[in-house]
Amino acid sequence: MAATRTTKRKAPDWLGLAPFLLFCLAFEIVPIIFLLRGSFIEKSTQQLTLQNYLDLQRPIYINSFVNSIKISGISALVGVLLGTLIGYAIYRWPSRRVQDTLISLSDVTTNFAGAPLAFSFIVILGMNGVITQFLLQYLNYELYPKFSIYSFSGLTLAYIYFQLPLMVLLILPAFAGIKKEWEESAQSLGADTFQFWWRIGIPILTPSLIAGLTLLFANAFGAYATAYTLVQAKLSLVTLQIGYMIAGEVRQNQAVGMAMAVISLVIMGLSIWIYQMSTRRARRWSKA
């Protein structure tokens, strides 16, 4: 914005961006700055304080951070591992039409998060769910009460639903970056399949794998609707806690909610930053 005043010649060019920048300022930047400021302020005295952050040491908040990090980490890890294998299977699939269909399917299903998806998992894995019944009647295996869709493990399964296709979409370009000639050259130099993947394939994929891990982590960490529909009060998560504070369902100091929000912003920001850095590295190979 300062450029508008200093360099007169460029003024009209920058002005073209003004409406959009003002919009971002109003609905993105200013609210976040307010949040940051609010988290460091004692509400009654309006003094600077760290108390809101110190209040987060209460077990309920620590617990929700631990749960959120755990579920995001596990669902991201499973998503990356399975998504990469599925992605490779798709990449090597002989029929182009099947490949395209599976990619389109991933495009659609990765957006199937939220309430309808959560409800679908109740339909299949709830107390009387389709799979629960199938296991009971055909394999004589009682899923409940060891497992519950309304618990940590159930929510993890639901999260993996939207993590898998996202990873497939992320990893496919990385496979395309591994040139067939490299595999052939490695073979002609006497490398077996394991050596090729260990020495060449996986190192090339590594930036994409890290990118996938961080993006999937952020994806799960920020999720709210799926968790709200499935677990509610049964499992404490950061996003659920913040949600309760906005809705006023718990009589908590809103400033504590702000401190919680700021910490999750830092966690998300770090993930997205590592994601960006790794994609930049990964792109080097796909361009080569």
Binding site: L17, T109, P116, A218, M258, A261, I272
Partner: protein
């Protein structure tokens, strides 16, 4: 997706059949993606399905109950209003901005990229909390207007990416200069030259934003809540009241998502044919 063109394995490969582990992996993927959705479709028309492997009978009763639920019409209307308003606001801000940055201000592209990635880094609950705190005065406080601002921010990347890709595919600078040398002003350039050329991107972006906002739950429930009830809010409410009716609502929501996705694919394929046509014409 560029990988579609750069994965010619199948065409050249000696063995035209997928191997066992490939079938297993893809089979697992299809199982995971389809079983929850298809089960919900069947559940929504099943009379009773909690004691047997297959439903005991079939009925459309739950759809009748869903359609006749009080609020059904008004939530659907609210969802449509919210989605369409968001698409319009998004178009108004994003299309001219993307054009401007590509044509006149390439220096600002990195900044725009950061602004577009930002919504991914802000959890929706955090955005809701921040907006509710700042805009706590009338007429914005907890109003549908604030909600529209929030969902525009949240869905911004979905509009920007296809539009910006479409703009990148044509030489906007040359087209603009040519039109201007013939006496067109900037609005004529946009309306007559640029927009028709990037229509595919605009349509894909609009559909993506529409689908995203139509399914949006978090911002809606936390910013406005019951005062402006949308379809996803009604769905969540019914997961606690009546599972069968909730299944019918889920099916409606899945079906809309599939339809919009098919439409996006169709628009995309149309775009590809016109692209090759223009290349051939040259």
């Amino acid at each position: 997706m560029s990988q579609r063109r750069s994965s010619p394995q199948g065409a050249k490969s000696k063995k035209a059949r997928p191997t066992g582990w490939q079938i297993a992996m893809v089979g697992f993927f299809l199982f995971y993606m389809f079983v929850p959705i298809l089960s919900t479709y069947v559940f929504s028309v099943a009379t009773r399905w909690d004691r047997t492997i297959l439903p005991e009978g079939y009925t459309l009763e739950f759809y009748q109950r869903a359609f006749s639920a009080s609020y059904f019409a008004s939530t659907l209307r609210n969802s449509l209003i919210l989605s369409i308003a968001t698409v319009l606001v998004s178009l108004l801000f994003i299309v001219p901005t993307a054009y401007w940055v590509h044509t006149r201000l390439p220096r600002a592209k990195p900044m725009l990229d950061v602004l577009m990635i930002l919504p991914f880094g802000i959890p929706t609950v955090v955005l809701a909390l921040a907006l509710v705190q700042v805009y706590n005065f009338a007429p914005l406080a907890r109003s549908p207007f604030l909600l529209i601002g929030a969902v525009v921010v949240y869905s911004m990347p979905f509009m920007y990416r296809p539009v910006s890709n479409a703009i990148q595919a044509i030489d906007t600078r040359v087209l603009t200069e040519a039109a201007q040398s013939l006496g067109a002003n900037i609005f004529q350039v946009l309306k007559l030259i640029i927009i028709p050329n990037i229509l595919t991107g605009i349509l894909s972006g609009s559909l993506l934003v529409f689908a995203t906002v139509f399914a949006e739950y978090t911002l809606t429930s936390l910013i406005v809540g019951a005062r402006f009830k949308t379809f996803p809010l009604l769905l969540v409410e019914f997961t606690r009241i009546n599972g069968n009716v909730a299944a019918a609502f889920s099916v409606i929501s899945f079906t809309i998502a599939w339809l919009v996705s098919l439409l996006i694919l169709w628009v995309g394929s149309k775009g590809q044919t016109t692209k090759t046509e223009t290349v051939q014409a040259r």
